[in-house]
């Protein structure tokens, strides 16, 4: 089965981003296809590589990056939500005259069309949020 996943909360606002991660990992573990994971609203905070959580805390951006690398996942961050929250890739940083970028490996910045496409392409769209 082909899945689309929507994540609407950040790692430190609600358990939903953890649930989304565990669900995605379980779906891949069962041999399903994950067409795309779309990070929207505060969910874009899952995509920063500059977070330094304590060693005994889970590091969700790292876990998503590693899952993306293992399974060739498409992790898409909503551009409008990302700009508001200071999540930038190199192109966006340059375009807005910022001195750094912070997007984690495996994530890319794109628009809402990617969410619509995931809704059309996937057999199931599963939403996680607050």
């Amino acid at each position: 089965m082909k899945y689309g996943i929507v994540v609407n909360t950040g790692p430190y606002t609600h358990q939903a981003s953890d649930t989304a991660y565990h669900f995605t990992a379980a779906a891949l573990g069962k041999g399903h296809e994950v067409f795309r994971v779309f990070f929207y609203h505060d969910g874009v905070n899952n995509g920063t590589r500059l977070g330094v959580p304590p060693q005994d805390d889970r590091n969700l951006p790292e876990k998503w990056s590693s899952l993306a690398q293992q399974h060739d996942l498409d992790l898409v961050v909503c551009v409008a939500a990302a700009q508001r929250r200071g999540l930038l890739d190199a192109d966006e940083a340059k375009r807005h005259g910022k001195d750094a970028d912070n997007i984690a490996p495996g994530f890319r910045i794109s628009g809402l069309g990617q969410l619509i496409e995931a809704g059309i392409e996937a057999d199931r769209l599963v939403v996680f949020g607050d």
Binding site: F23, A25, A26, H32, R124, V126, D130
Partner: protein
């Protein structure tokens, strides 16, 4: 066309579960996750409402979230089935669509 409804709020915090139960149709299912698992406990104000709903819909609760809150599975209402994340995935595949009550 069966729908899997996911509820992630305690029924004592918000009315997501009660709203959900007003829209479920016979043959659909409700999966309680995150703080939603509190709604699966016996002897609460909501338990009779769930018992009534169980006549035509099936209830599930996410085991890892029950245990993460220190709740014993023995305190869960009889008939509510406990699943893990793999079981959650199976439920989404078995139903035609998933509706999250956020």
């Amino acid at each position: 066309m069966a729908t899997l409804h996911t509820v992630n709020k305690s029924p004592f915090e918000r009315n997501a579960l009660e709203s959900c139960l007003r829209f479920t149709t016979p043959g659909s299912s409700v999966l309680l996750i995150e703080d939603g698992v509190v709604g699966a406990l016996r002897n609460t104000r909501l338990a009779p409402r769930i018992a009534q709903a169980m006549e035509n819909i099936t209830f599930y609760a996410l085991g890892p979230d029950i245990r993460a809150r220190g709740l014993e599975e023995s305190r869960i209402i009889d008939g509510i089935r406990i699943v893990d994340y793999a079981g959650f995935v199976d439920l989404t595949a078995e139903h035609d669509r998933v509706q999250a009550w956020l």
